[in-house]
Symmetry: C2
Subunit: 221 residues, 2 copies
Amino acid sequence: MDIALLGGTGDIGEGLALRWANDTDHTVIIGSRDVEKAEAAAEEYEAALGDSDSEATVDGRTNEEAASRADVVVTAVPAYHLTDTVEAVAEQLGDAILVSPAVGMKHDEDGFHYNRPGVGSVTELAAKAAPEDTPVVGAFHNLAAGRLADLEAELDWDTIVVGDDRDAKATVSELAEGIDGLRALDGGPLANAAEVEGLTPLLINVARHNDGLHDLGVQFH
Amino acid sequence: MDIALLGGTGDIGEGLALRWANDTDHTVIIGSRDVEKAEAAAEEYEAALGDSDSEATVDGRTNEEAASRADVVVTAVPAYHLTDTVEAVAEQLGDAILVSPAVGMKHDEDGFHYNRPGVGSVTELAAKAAPEDTPVVGAFHNLAAGRLADLEAELDWDTIVVGDDRDAKATVSELAEGIDGLRALDGGPLANAAEVEGLTPLLINVARHNDGLHDLGVQFH
């Protein structure tokens, strides 16, 4: 499958790109508003993969070009860039599945808190900005980017997948489970995304308050 | 230590009572508004412990009596009874630590959702209702009652402990870790309770949408 990572020069984009390139046969396309940044990141990721057995190639493109070439388009951008990013590639999406991993958070002296948008969740913001016939799936909200990008690190994490299109959710779950040590769990429809997104500030708070814990994910059992 | 479980006839109360009675030397006091219900539950829990090696006794009292005898008072009541329950025992709390495990949820056709109270979290509702000098700690929010009450079942779960009083939090963490298979993690101050409470509806949604998963808890790593 061809996977575009819009904003793939950022930390969650880097982690997903490296894992998919290393663990699967999918083609990974890094998108950025700035094609030179995308190309530089793609080269950097290929170099990071040099030590592994992977023969994957990673390409850098503009977000629009990346979206137009992909079966699955992941918006690996901060929540406040999400609507703009989706609108910018709306005409290129074609039959692609749109995947949103973004979480809105605010930070005060106590810790990190979930900053829930009026439409219900950040994932639903993506759905609102997307063309009506584009299936939108929420996934990868709760993955610590640092550990994800460290190919030496074992994950043993779960990721919750939410969405209203059963086939799109199955495709994204399969992509997720292509990453070694990642299990995809069904979180139900898109309307359940807020509970998934709200786990991310909790992971950060727990990492900040417990010695020896950092770059946390969770397992459900 | 003497632990009172107010509303200890309910499912989370049963689970905590059985685990503490089975796994530790603490004295467990079941509180209820109705002393006969408390006594009946205490007898039932002792009978359930009969198969184990425990020599623990479990007593049943009114909530007020239970609170007056305890070092740690756990409000094992639904969120909508929390304020009333705390106010009813306010004069009996003395130097006790108050522990709130309650979570507010609503349910629609999509799934379970966190129902965040205006004061920020259900745990902060307990703090608001408690006497000013009573240390309030949030813990045990994310434990599936069914598995907790099944002494044959292994837990391997984490519970997040939040609060503004460092000593009280340490005491509650120690109580939590007295239960086999339960690890206490520091979630920071009381103001971080909402992110902890919000995990409970996610656990329910994931259990509902994935075959073979039920009575879920989490591990952070």
